[in-house]
Symmetry: C2
Subunit: 431 residues, 2 copies
Amino acid sequence: MSEHLSTKPYKGVRDFYPEDMSVQQYLFETWSYTAEQFGFLRYEASVLEPSELYKAKGAENEEMVNEQTYTFTDRGKREVTLRPEMTPTVARMVAGRRNELSFPVRWYSIPNLFRYERTQRGRLREHWQLNCDIFGVDDVSADIEILLLADAIFRNFGAENGTHYTINVASRALLESLYDQLTMSDEERVAATRLADRKLKMKPATFKKELFAAIADEDAAKTVLTYLNADSISTLPATVLNCEPLADLTSLMNTLDEAGSPVVFDPTIVRGFDYYTGIVFEVKDLHPENNRSMMGGGRYNDLTGLFGGDPIPGIGFGFGDVTLKDFLESHNLLTADVRSATLSILPMDTTLNINAQKIAQQFRLKDIATTVDVSTKKVGKKISAASDAFIDYVLVLGSDELDSGTYTVKNLATGEEESGTVEELIASLVE
Amino acid sequence: MSEHLSTKPYKGVRDFYPEDMSVQQYLFETWSYTAEQFGFLRYEASVLEPSELYKAKGAENEEMVNEQTYTFTDRGKREVTLRPEMTPTVARMVAGRRNELSFPVRWYSIPNLFRYERTQRGRLREHWQLNCDIFGVDDVSADIEILLLADAIFRNFGAENGTHYTINVASRALLESLYDQLTMSDEERVAATRLADRKLKMKPATFKKELFAAIADEDAAKTVLTYLNADSISTLPATVLNCEPLADLTSLMNTLDEAGSPVVFDPTIVRGFDYYTGIVFEVKDLHPENNRSMMGGGRYNDLTGLFGGDPIPGIGFGFGDVTLKDFLESHNLLTADVRSATLSILPMDTTLNINAQKIAQQFRLKDIATTVDVSTKKVGKKISAASDAFIDYVLVLGSDELDSGTYTVKNLATGEEESGTVEELIASLVE
């Protein structure tokens, strides 16, 4: 066969060589650690889901599934989809055990997600996403907790609230309360909400013109404009000052301020999905060249409706690995160490390889991660290779060392050497 | 819509609820820890691979791919497969960087693998598998290391070599050396090797009859029978006593014995795959009701051939999560703790939820995993729920505690209580 196979991965997916995987493990472990600090429990499911899980919400979803996901028919004529998001899966799992679960349920997961993107430069077809949700409680204290968690994740990656990012919040319930008091029609609400979502990408004059075109009553349009232009709660129109959603939002903002995790009021945040019903939020990157929303979420009051039963409220968010890595890199915050063994045994020649394995095993049994360079390289090259692989210590093994039972371990960072029996060297390394 | 969606996962795949995921994390973390103790570096790749990666080896493979894997055509007319095994992927990745990598390369991965199994009771269509390989070195010391690693994995799960399992080894090189010295034809070799693989499932008389039918020369057949009946190196036929593969095997067995990781000689182990060329091994479960091979691997001398370039030798193994879990359960070795927060704050009523969140955050900032029961349950029920969720400590929060700034933490296991300020309680919990 003269034609060789390509070593490239499938289009739009990534290979993780060990140096990439070290970064990935750092991201996942920091995510896990933080979620578990808040008492969240990890769950998982298969990347394969029945396609109806995504199609069930109507014709629009059916089109999305057919055009933007990996969907195929298996040999049992079942339609199956590589999951594009985790929310339908977690809703399915919570609904499936609604009678056994003790609410509030706090769950997190780090699923691999797939989207069939049309060919565009650099667009990936898969990523990994942290998903955190609290189910079964409709209380502002859960909203506060989710925002504390979002902030703690960024802090645990070394980022500073207000320097590297801001957490921007709004309330869909407050917006609906405004619409109610202005007795706006359903069409006016949808049009105004869509405009709010696009506000930051529009010129103020265009925005105002379109908003006034969308709302029949001019006074109502003025009030909505005042609302959407507010840069703090104190500049909101009087219309909403006495409603419960504002009391909740105020309490949330004050508590987060006191807890050292301040959030910014941003009425233009609506989050596209229909299912959000309360607090909505996005974390924005403050980097001047990359000023964008990195992640977001919010409160929904009936996510499990498709599966029947009483509504189960919840609040949650998703946060992708590619976005996080871009953020950390652009702010020089990516400090993941390349993982490696602590010690490498370097036999002077290959006849000593088996003895080297025996010595290595003694170190391993005492919890010291140990490797052996069994290549045919000269010792000098073996030392360079150990240094390139971020190994901390080397032990050069010749027949003299073997005969005497006295070995020398060298610290590659400091150049310091220490000699002794294997037991003495183990005692020194674990100290 | 009166018809509700099913909450079941797709056929043949698993949901991991938190109690299942705790076990899964324990398996994965023990695998990772052990591999990293041996200086192995973790890599990953996408579950999606070009189908040609599996079809390239010939028509037989093409049939296997079409009938036993999830393979479909994407909208760009590319054939794509959900990977059924990791070896082709790691071979692709090593071949792709053969000029940059510093050999020996020690890599591990815990991939999710998919097989399209025909509908059978309890057969899964996906599992997770630890894969460990050493590339770029053709030396018995690497074979020894792989077997030390396999043994260390079982030991780190609390299993005992010789009590719960044995590691059975053979050598394809030794078998070929025997065939060479008996000047057997290619057809005879293939037939004899296939019979060896089935030997333990056949009656001795049937086996002997078929072996003698497969090998023309009767003396040669007798010698092969002696070889395949040998239960130790000392009972091997004289024909192979002076060959290099036997010297290597003897050295391997002696070294592993000295290192406390004994292996058993078992000439019936051949491992189906054509690519094995040296040491082959399988770990056998000693449970009387489940006496089977749990995992295996061996040495191959050209795994990257499909991608061109000089051969790269290697040795490695794969070990599935389902098999491991069955093994641990049948021997009562599965001791994974359900993960949970350390402390749960239990507000007496929901008006105290926000204050509870503020107090929880102080504990979290000092590395104490803390949750808040924001449900509407009575305090007694909240304590039961915390206990059911394997929480270690609870703090009942009433307005008295809030006013005085003195709180009481109760150890749910011992019933002991301790009172003090948040700072004092933190100091006591982290001690």
